[in-house]
Symmetry: C2
Subunit: 414 residues, 2 copies
Amino acid sequence: MLVVKKFGGSSVANPERIKRVAKRVVEEHQRGNQVVVTVSAMGDTTDDLIALMKQVTNNPSEREMDMLLSTGEQVSIALLSMAIRDLGSDVISLTGAQVGIYTDDVHTKAKILKIETSRVMAELNEGRVVVVAGFQGINPNNDITTLGRGGSDTTAVALAAALQADVCEIFTDVDGVYTADPRVVPGASKLSHISYDEMLELASLGAQVLHPRSVELAKQYGIPIHVRTSFNYSEGTIVEEAPNMENAPVVSGVAHDYNVAKIGLFDVPDKPGVAMKIFKALSAQNINVDMIIQSAMRNSMNDIGFTVTQDDLRKTLLTIEAIQEEVGFKGYTHDEDVAKVSIVGAGMISHPGVAADMFETLAEEGINLEMITTSEIKVSCVIKRSETEKAVRALHKKFRLDNLEEAKNYAGIT
Amino acid sequence: MLVVKKFGGSSVANPERIKRVAKRVVEEHQRGNQVVVTVSAMGDTTDDLIALMKQVTNNPSEREMDMLLSTGEQVSIALLSMAIRDLGSDVISLTGAQVGIYTDDVHTKAKILKIETSRVMAELNEGRVVVVAGFQGINPNNDITTLGRGGSDTTAVALAAALQADVCEIFTDVDGVYTADPRVVPGASKLSHISYDEMLELASLGAQVLHPRSVELAKQYGIPIHVRTSFNYSEGTIVEEAPNMENAPVVSGVAHDYNVAKIGLFDVPDKPGVAMKIFKALSAQNINVDMIIQSAMRNSMNDIGFTVTQDDLRKTLLTIEAIQEEVGFKGYTHDEDVAKVSIVGAGMISHPGVAADMFETLAEEGINLEMITTSEIKVSCVIKRSETEKAVRALHKKFRLDNLEEAKNYAGIT
């Protein structure tokens, strides 16, 4: 079996933890498996390098930032390889350039184009553990690039795809994907399996276990991802193509997200191209619009509501003011005192009553729904911020997620 | 003009110093010259990495040590490039691998085999300053190697040779090569020029300005080295092929070295192969023997004396004991209470009275000579340690080195 294992920065934050990771890797290797390990920079290394950089310049070239930051993973792979060798496995470390992780040339947020497998395969066939620097590659000009957010997860999945690995294990500080945030719902269950699409919806909703980018890549190449903790040996959650869908719970999880702000535009002229103008202006400012709702017209005027992250709110309001005259809407409101609650489940496709069950449950709790959007495997509602936990608990109970065997029996019974 | 500049770890020890180096580089670039800069790791970075490593393992693979330590220079080149760009010069940093500094595969002390110039020349021709990581290269297997002691000086000189640079400037914390250690001889003069051979003799004698390895390389390719300080703009010392030898001082400098231990072997059988056996055994232990003296025979027995560094003394004595029976010498002594004093000068070749002058001067001071060796451009004496400073001052005065114009007039007048 060929296994790719990825350990994040907190798993290799100090020499003790590096040795613990090494032990885990060597155990796998000594079971007779081929093992490729990819690691991030140790703990705060990246932040330390950025702090040092800021003492030199406030306006760094992105190419040189990549040159600087890529040293963090290089230190990790060298130290981890030393620790693995001490425990008796033959091992070699490789930088992104040495592997041949080719990317485009967008420094600080490069995309992987192709991974050369010959060096890694040759080392594996020599019986070595191969330790690869995460987060980095080289562009066609032979310059070092970094992959930006979620980069080390992406390295791991891309390596697994290129090497046709049997599984890609992502070690984090949580032990799997839960049906809800255990801090909100103490009885939340750990999911043993989840589909790529469900994981994507959960990840983008704030369950920050796996970066969506790596999930998309895993889905594209059909690589199973095993999300588990580096702190113990318990099984985590396997993310894969919808397995046994007939037997899966209809709803897999309840997610919530506080980083939401709601904007309403009043009396927007109802003519072609108006929505386009608004959202193009926001997109030009790199503002990511999430939910969008356009109400029924009255007097040839519409109301348009949408949500953005709270971080983007100020920029959003400035953009709206700038285009108000041109677009011709009468006014706008905004509200930060909101949150988004969602249910996610691949089974919803074949159980049409699920959305209605959600609305009923929230109504029974006296919670007002300010916005609603639905996709094939997700229903999201914007509600008052203070009612978030109550909503999550009620939904978790409604869909019987504290007991996954029971949850499978749920079938849209309202 | 194409200039290669090398800045050591203390010159780039913190952001302030990095900015100062950047200013100096940009001034050169803005004078219209092509500039290649090579730098070491910042200040204590290498020591810090080694300390971190020791928390992981006591027995690191040398390949992984190179992987680890080479990050130090990579951080330096990124930060220096950022600082240079801030001051208005276009610039690019390159690792040893990116330049194509090809070495053998002796990790931690690799030798440069070849330098690819195409990337560096292309960047220079784009008008960029090129900042190259010192101390590192890649072996034929595409693995990162480091060059060991004096590695960054060697990178600079090898780059200068490969690029056919006009000069290689080595910036250190001293402002040039002096006729004696100014702490011992306050009136010591700074030499404006010195030959490669003289520099080699001085460097190996403890005037630790330039590593002998880089001087040898510069001599081989005829690259002038300008040794100067990064703390001010004064001219330093130019090391080059013996310039105007007729007009150079006969003696260029007086060096001393405290890191010397003297060993004497008594009654060594006078038959072929005996000296070979002794020094082969020492060499097998990586002990560097410096001076060797074999006295005239009596009763078909010899006395053999030699010196090693004090660091190697213990290992030397163990080795001698181990071979005593086989070689058949009667006994041995050792003495650490000694030092070596030398005079170096290319002009000595044509002035045969210089050695005699040295002996006379030391005799006048009442200093006993325990061992003597001579080469074409050097005479070295082992003396009692406590008399070192007196010896150096007397010799410096004798050869008129406090005034280099006068020193040129000295011509072996005893």
